[in-house]
């Protein structure tokens, strides 16, 4: 019985390892500063606001903006907890820190 749960853990570990291994490297590294033209920045903000409205008051009242580095942690937390998608997270973080 105990082995069964270990077997499942092992399987999950393996699946996640394969998942991790097959993750394609992104083109832009986070450490590189993102330079947007003002039109691009506006579009990013608009998209961010749209995604914020679609996602951030589904479970609780939509929160106010926090300072950028706090926001980065909060959005990461929500990405995991609320299974917010990668793209949503990026746009929302941009919107919440501008």
């Amino acid at each position: 019985m105990k082995y069964k749960s270990l077997a499942i853990i092992w399987l999950l570990a393996l699946i996640s390892a394969i998942g991790v291994a097959s993750s394609a490297p992104r083109t832009r590294r986070a450490t590189e500063p993102a330079v947007y033209s003002s039109a691009e920045a506006d579009a990013m903000r608009l998209e961010g606001e749209k995604r914020f409205r679609a996602n951030c008051n589904r479970c609780h009242a939509a929160p106010h903006k926090f300072p950028p580095r706090m926001m980065a942690t909060i959005v990461r937390h929500m990405r995991v907890r609320a299974t917010i998608t990668d793209d949503d997270m990026r746009y929302i973080l941009y919107y919440m820190t501008q």
């Binding site: 019985m1 105990k2 082995y3 069964k4 749960s5 270990l6 499942i8 853990i9 092992w10 999950l12 570990a13 393996l14 996640s16 390892a17 394969i18 998942g19 991790v20 291994a21 097959s22 993750s23 394609a24 490297p25 992104r26 590294r29 986070a30 450490t31 993102a34 995604r51 679609a54 996602n55 008051n57 589904r58 479970c59 609780h60 009242a61 929160p63 106010h64 926090f66 300072p67 950028p68 580095r69 706090m70 926001m71 980065a72 942690t73 909060i74 959005v75 990461r76 937390h77 990405r79 995991v80 907890r81 609320a82 299974t83 998608t85 990668d86 793209d87 973080l93 941009y94 820190t97």
Partner: protein, 364 residues
């Protein structure tokens, strides 16, 4: 011969295969090529101490209970892809004895979760440690006192373990422009009856489909206990936040051998009324209807689990006033109907969510 090897391997596999696969897993996580694919947080994330503090008066069938609680949440991001997170509950519940005298009670402590999350890629986050069991939506998404629209727990909440100890895979990703899919699959390998660390050995999963346009989510959960009677539980959930009005609807159904039932919650924020806007937009009406049906366990067993001893129906209505972001005053009235007796449930109180940085916050 091969039979012997298989048998020996099976016997030894937890000792041999498990560390080997864990090693493989870690190796894959930290391969230099992969380390280059960082998440695109942009801003450097810092540790945060957040959580809730609350003070409530619950009057259940005429018996007053004073409840004071503080539930700190610690968030520690590591690098671009890791998050270590934890929440503890400290709750003092005090009652005056029926024959009068001073309030007495006790403080309970509970570790809700202590987990390390690794955001592997767009599709997958790996969680290890003690985590909130992703069964239905209340436990994982609506439980904190600053979030729930009514402070009473739904009757069916104890049908699944609140916390699990083991490993979980989860994620959310777009299927197309109109549909997002989210999932969680977990195994809880530790069975602990310890008061502050209760958990069962179980395996389960949840899957949800979210439509960002109409803001609708539907989903299903399943769990199998790997101990005792090895029973199955399953449930369905539904959530809807219409775009046009400030209404928030959540609902859940769950069934196991311990019982079954549902709840449906609606919260309407008066942010669109045309008069006294300044005051009224902070006000929210909340209502809940719920029902619980007995399962195949005795009423004593049910009560020990925190479930009603008999078939029960309940209706509740409440008012929430948002004084400030994260701070709300609450008041509610509920009526419970059951063959064990009907009763009134009154609640008044205040719930606060705080968040303080544990590092330099950066500038806007």
């Amino acid at each position: 011969m091969s039979y012997f090897w298989i048998k020996a391997g099976l016997r030894r596999w937890p000792r041999v295969v498990l560390p080997a696969s864990a090693g493989l897993f870690l190796l894959l996580c930290f391969t230099p090529g992969l380390a280059a694919c960082q998440s695109s947080d942009g801003e450097k994330a810092i540790p945060i101490l957040t959580g809730t503090a609350g003070y409530f008066n619950f009057v259940t069938a005429g018996q007053n209970q004073v409840d004071a609680q503080i539930n700190p949440v610690l968030l520690v991001p590591l690098g671009d892809r890791w998050l270590v997170e934890s929440r503890a509950e400290f709750e003092g519940a005090f009652q005056r004895p029926p024959d009068g005298g001073s309030y007495g009670g006790m403080v309970s402590k509970n570790l809700d979760y202590l987990q390390a999350d690794y955001i592997a890629n767009t599709y997958l986050t790996v969680t290890m440690g003690r985590f909130l069991t992703p069964f239905g939506i209340f436990n994982e998404r609506l439980y904190p006192i600053w979030i729930r629209s009514l402070q009473q727990d739904p009757l069916i909440l104890p049908l699944s373990a609140e916390s699990s100890d083991g490993m979980m895979l989860r994620g959310g990703f777009p299927v197309n422009a109109k549909v997002n899919l989210n999932y969680a699959a977990y195994v809880s390998a530790v069975s602990s009856g310890h008061n502050n660390l209760e958990s069962d050995r179980n395996v389960g999963g949840r899957m949800g489909i979210f439509l960002p346009g109409p803001r609708v989510e539907v989903g299903a959960s399943w769990q199998k206990l790997l101990q005792d009677e090895r029973t199955h539980s399953f449930g369905f959930h539904f959530a809807w936040q219409p775009m046009r009005f400030p209404l928030n609807i959540h609902s859940e159904y769950a069934r196991s051998n311990q019982g079954s039932g549902y709840w449906i919650d609606g919260a309407y924020r008066l942010s669109q009324v045309l008069f006294w806007q300044k005051a009224l937009r902070r006000l929210e009406f909340a209502g809940r209807a719920e029902q619980f049906f007995n399962g195949q366990i005795s009423s004593d067993e049910a009560q020990a689990l925190g479930l009603p001893a008999a078939n029960t129906r309940e209706g509740e209505f409440g008012l929430n006033y948002y004084l400030h972001d994260g701070l709300k005053a609450v008041a509610s009235y509920g009526r419970q109907f059951s063959s064990a007796g009907n009763l009134n449930l009154w609640t008044v109180g205040i719930a606060y969510r705080f968040a303080v940085p544990l590092g330099r916050v950066g500038s806007q």
